[in-house]
């Protein structure tokens, strides 16, 4: 329905033709995207998802199901865990994967439902910023964390994990 090749085009009578050779602009795809970003993202969601199932289930289990469960969680508990490089690594991986997985999930949701390009841009900017901040913050916390805090007098503070005593003394 493109070239009409009209000889005598008179003004349209009555209402406008709903489909006079055009497609509602809403349905036009801007341009073909290059690269395979969506594919990589898709694969990442599956791989990270599978990994996260293991990471988070163990995390939940060790934090909530064994020992005193929810009651054991305090500064000392966290400090005790992160003294072990395995747990440090565990939580770091979990942080990164979960944040990227979640951010990408939020990105697709914004793509789906944000109607205007400007809204989409805004929401995505906020999302990426939040994601970056959280990842950096979390990473710093895990790596710069000092479990055995001393008070001004040089004594171990009460909430220090028990192993600190051997470290300090």
């Amino acid at each position: 329905m493109t070239a009409t090749n009209s000889e005598a085009v008179l003004p349209a009578q009555g209402i406008e033709a709903p489909r006079s050779g055009r497609i509602d602009p809403k349905y036009l795809r801007s341009s073909a995207s290059s690269g395979s970003f969506e594919m990589v993202a898709w694969v990442f969601m599956r791989v990270s998802g599978a990994a996260l199932v293991v990471l988070i289930f163990v995390h939940l289990f060790s934090n909530l199901m064994v020992g005193e469960g929810i009651h054991q969680i305090d500064f000392a508990f966290v400090a005790g865990k992160w003294a072990n490089p395995v747990w440090q690594f565990w939580d770091l991986t979990m942080l990164w994967l979960a944040m990227l997985h979640g951010t990408n999930g939020m990105r697709t949701i914004i793509n789906d439902y944000a109607e205007k390009d400007s809204t989409r841009l805004w929401l995505k900017s906020i999302l990426y910023l939040a994601c970056a901040v959280i990842i950096i913050l979390g990473t710093l916390v895990i790596f710069t964390f000092e479990p055995c805090l001393l008070d001004d007098a040089g004594n171990l503070m009460d909430y220090s994990p028990s192993f600190c005593e051997s470290v300090v003394n």
């Binding site: 289930f57 929810i70 969680i73």
Partner: protein, 114 residues
């Protein structure tokens, strides 16, 4: 379709919790007191119910996510997606019953009252 709606909703919920959770955990870097104070809030009875809800969301998102992976990569996946959804629901229910019992037991054992 409803499994997909559920997957999206739980995903969004978990994402926001995650933001908060990283922030609260970061308090360990600020001061032990601050961290313990905030973590203390998680031990409130209302939060206990919230935790069950959160774990419910995570478990559903996890199992349904595994189902999606099977649909994607297992040849027969598309044919058995419905059965797999049933399996997800059953597994979710079993896991949640087990978790809730254990979590509530722990909670009441260590609960010192309001």
């Amino acid at each position: 379709m409803w499994s997909w709606v559920g997957h999206r909703i739980t995903g969004v919920g978990i994402f926001f919790f995650l933001l908060v959770h990283v922030l609260d955990t970061s308090l360990v870097r600020v001061s032990p007191e601050a961290y313990d104070a905030v973590i203390g809030a998680y031990k409130h009875p209302i939060m206990i119910m919230g935790e069950i809800g959160l774990v419910g969301a995570i478990v559903f998102h996890a199992f349904n996510g595994l189902r999606i992976i099977l649909v994607d990569f297992w040849k027969q996946g598309t044919r058995y997606h419905r059965q797999m959804l049933w399996a997800v629901m059953v597994l979710w229910f079993v896991t949640m019953v087990a978790f809730s019992i254990r979590h509530l037991m722990i909670f009441f054992e260590g609960w010192e009252g309001f």
